[in-house]
Symmetry: C2
Subunit: 400 residues, 2 copies
C-alpha cells in the first residue's frame, strides 16, 4: 500500500504509519494502516502478537465472519492466542462484562507482558480498554477496529467507558493502547447503515480541518457506500488515513481532556446527545451527529459566518451519504436544553462549534452569541428542506 | 506544629508540606502533615472539601471512633459530605465493593468536580483509588490514612489494587490523589500490633536511606508503641514526616513502575510474600517484612558487606519494636522459590535488596551473587538467635 499521508516508515511489512500519538511523558502509541492483517502469511498483526500470551476479545458477528481467519493465523504463525466472544451491544457495556474479560485474562494466565486485543467496534474497544487498564494495574492492548467509526473516530483514541447504574459512560478510563491497526478490508462486511454512521464522523472532521478530505467524501460517497468502502480504492484509503490522522491531530493537544473544554471535534456533538436521547436511541449516534452538523452549518449561515454556497455543499454531502439532516424531534426547547446541559460538561461555557468554511470551524462560546431568532430560523429552514426532500423521495433512503 | 522537614510553606493553617510528588506531565500532588484535622474549627481538611460534593468512604471502626467528629465538622463548616461505611477487610477488596463506591457516587450525584475521600487504612485507600480512577474517567480523591502503614508507606503513594478471582491484587490502577493528609493523632486509637507493622516499614525505609530516622526509631520504639505514637512528641512527628518523605523520594523516580525493576523500597519485600502465603496470612505483612529485613541484613553480614555491629543494631531495632526476626516456616526451599518467583516480577532479575550500612542498601542482581552456603548459614544463624530469644522470654512478645 502506498503511503497516503506522507509517512515513509515501514515498521511492519505492508503497513503504513498513520499517526504517532503522544499522550504523556511515558506513554505513546502508533496508529498503522494495513491491508488484510488476518491473511495467514501477513506479518503485520502476527509480529505484534508473537512471543506473548494474547487474549483476543471480539463480538459474535466478527467471530462468525473472521474467527476462522484468526485461528488459521494463530496456527500458521504459532501464536498463543485465546479468543473471548462477548455480546458487545451498547446496553451490555457493563462492569460485569469488563469482569468477564478480567476472568478470562486470569484463566489464560496473562502476565504483565500479556496482551489484550480488541477486534470489533466501539463497544468491544470500550470494554477492552477498561479491562486492560485494570489488569495488573495496566497491561498492554491493541485496538483493531472493524467498523468505520472505529477506524476514523474515537476508536483510534485512548478513551474507554461503560454504563453504570443506568448512567451512560459513568465509569471509564483514559488508557492509551500499544497500537491501533486500521485494516480497511474489514469494512467490506460492514452493513451499509454503519458505513453511513462513520461517514457522519468523517464529514465532521473534514469540516473542522481538511477541505481535501471533505471533497473526497462529498464526491465519492455513493460508490464508497455501495462497495463496502473499497471503491474507488485509492480514494477509500486516502479518506481513511486522512480522517484518522486528522482526528488524532485534534486529540493530540488534549488527550486526557484536562487542558481545555474547547474541542473542535465537538462539532456535531452538542445537539446530538439530546437527539439520541429524545429518540430513545432509535437514532444512531452517527445519524444524530449528521443532524447536528446540518444545524451547526445552518446556524453559521444564518449568522452570516458561512457562505450559503458552502452550506449547500455541506447539506448535499450529508444527503449524498444517506444521512438525515433533520428530525421533528428537534424543537427549540430541545436545543436550548441541550445547550444548557452541554455547558455543564464544558466548564460553564456553551462552546458550540460551527463551520465557517469547508475545513474551518470556530466556537460560539457564550449563549448571547446565538440569538434565539437565529436558532428559530435555522430550525425552520431545515424542517422545510427536510419536508421538501421527503416529498421528492430524496436521497435520504437511497441506500436503505 | 513546627516544620520538621525544613519546609516553610503553609498552604493550610497548621499544616506542613511533607512532600510534593510529581507523577507525570500534568499530575502531581502534595502530602501534608497536620494535627487534629477533624477538630470542628480546624481549616485544613475543611478547606479542601469546601464548595464540593464529597463522598467520604470509611470503615466501621473508623466510623465508630471518628464518625461524629466528621459529622460535626461538616455541619459546623457547612460542607456537603456524604459518608459510606464499607467493610474494608483484605478479603473484601473486591470489584463489588468498588462498584458500591461508584453506586454511592452516582446516588449523591458526584460530578466531574466531585471528590472522594478515603478515611481509613490500606484497604479503604485501595478501594477509593480504584473507584476514583473509574468514575467519569477519573475524579479527584484525597487520602487520609488512619494507620501507621498508611501514613508512612504505600498509603502516601498512587497505587490501588483489589483481589479478583482468588488472585491477590490482580486488578488495580496507578492513580494519583489530589492530596494526602497525614494526621498523627489518628494513631492514638490504633491497636499496638498495627503500630508494630508500621514500624517494620519505617525501619525498611530508614535502612535504605536515612540513618537519623533509624536512630530515632531504634532509640524510642518502646515509648512510641506505648503511647499510640504520641510520645516523645517531637520524635513521633519527625519519624512520621521523615519516613513519608523518604518513601515518596524513592517512589518519585518511578511512580508508575515502568522505568525500572530495581527499587530500593523492595528491601524486605522479596521473601515476605512467600512468608505471608506460607503462614496462610496468619503473619501480617508487617511481620513478614520484619523477618525479611532480618534475613537480608544477615545475608549481607555473611557476605561481608554489612558490619557485624550494624547487623546487631538492625536485629535489636526489630526486636525492640516487638517484631519477629524469624519463623520456622522459612526454609531453604521457601527462600529459593521466593527468589525465583520474584524474578518473574522483576523482568528476570533477582534484585534482592540488602543493607550494607544503616541508611545504605544495594542490589544482588543475579542468583550467583547469593551462594547457597551463605543463604544456609544466614537461615541457621537466625533460627539459632530466635530460639535463644524465645528461651530467654525475649522482647518478642513484650508489647503483645
Amino acid at each position: 500500500m502506498e503511503s497516503l499521508t506522507g509517512y515513509k516508515e515501514k515498521p511492519c511489512a505492508a503497513s503504513d504509519v498513520v499517526f504517532r500519538m503522544f499522550c504523556s511523558q511515558h506513554k505513546g502509541y502508533t496508529v498503522y494502516a494495513s491491508e488484510r492483517i488476518l491473511e495467514p502469511d501477513d506479518p503485520t498483526f502476527a509480529e505484534m502478537l508473537r512471543g506473548r500470551k494474547v487474549l483476543l476479545v471480539t463480538t459474535p458477528t466478527v467471530a462468525r465472519l473472521y474467527g476462522s481467519l484468526v485461528n488459521d493465523l494463530a496456527e500458521r504463525q504459532s501464536l498463543s492466542v485465546k479468543t473471548l466472544i462477548l455480546p458487545c451491544r451498547e446496553n451490555m457495556k457493563s462492569l460485569e462484562l469488563v469482569g468477564d474479560i478480567c476472568s478470562a485474562a486470569l484463566a489464560c494466565e496473562l502476565d504483565r507482558k500479556g496482551l489484550l486485543v480488541a477486534l470489533g467496534g466501539g463497544v468491544c474497544s470500550d470494554l477492552v480498554t477498561l479491562a486492560a487498564s485494570l489488569i495488573r494495574r495496566g497491561i498492554n492492548y491493541i485496538r483493531v477496529p472493524t467498523t468505520l467509526i472505529g477506524q476514523v473516530d474515537a476508536g483510534v483514541g485512548i478513551k474507554g467507558a461503560i454504563n453504570f447504574g443506568g448512567k451512560k459512560s459513568f465509569l471509564g478510563a483514559f488508557y492509551p493502547p500499544e497500537a491501533v491497526l486500521i485494516d480497511p478490508t474489514f469494512l467490506q462486511t460492514l452493513p451499509v447503515a454503519h458505513l453511513r454512521y462513520g461517514m457522519a464522523e468523517i464529514i465532521k472532521i473534514a469540516l473542522i480541518c481538511d477541505a481535501e478530505l471533505f471533497s473526497l467524501v462529498a464526491d465519492h460517497s455513493a460508490r464508497l457506500l455501495r462497495s463496502g468502502f473499497q471503491d474507488p480504492f485509492a480514494c477509500s484509503r486516502r479518506v481513511l488515513t486522512l480522517a484518522a490522522a486528522r482526528m488524532l491531530e485534534e486529540l493530540q493537544a488534549n488527550p486526557y481532556e484536562d487542558q481545555s473544554y474547547k474541542r473542535l471535534v465537538d462539532l456535531g456533538h452538542t445537539f446530538s446527545p439530546a437527539i439520541e436521547a429524545a429518540s430513545s436511541y432509535a437514532f444512531h449516534h452517527g445519524e444524530a451527529v449528521a443532524i447536528d452538523l446540518a444545524m451547526s452549518a445552518t446556524i453559521s449561515a444564518e449568522l452570516g459566518l458561512l457562505a450559503e454556497a458552502e452550506r449547500e455543499t455541506i447539506i448535499a454531502a450529508l444527503i449524498a451519504a444517506g444521512l438525515p439532516i433533520f428530525t421533528e424531534l428537534v424543537s427549540e426547547q430541545l436545543c436550548l436544553k441541550a445547550l444548557r446541559d452541554i455547558a455543564l460538561h464544558r466548564a460553564g461555557s456553551m462552546n458550540l462549534v460551527i463551520p465557517v468554511g469547508i475545513g474551518r470551524a470556530i466556537f460560539l462560546e457564550h449563549e448571547d452569541e446565538l440569538p434565539l431568532a437565529v436558532l428559530r430560523r435555522s430550525l425552520k429552514r431545515l424542517a422545510q428542506e427536510s419536508r421538501e426532500m421527503e416529498n421528492a423521495e430524496s436521497a435520504f433512503c437511497a441506500y436503505g
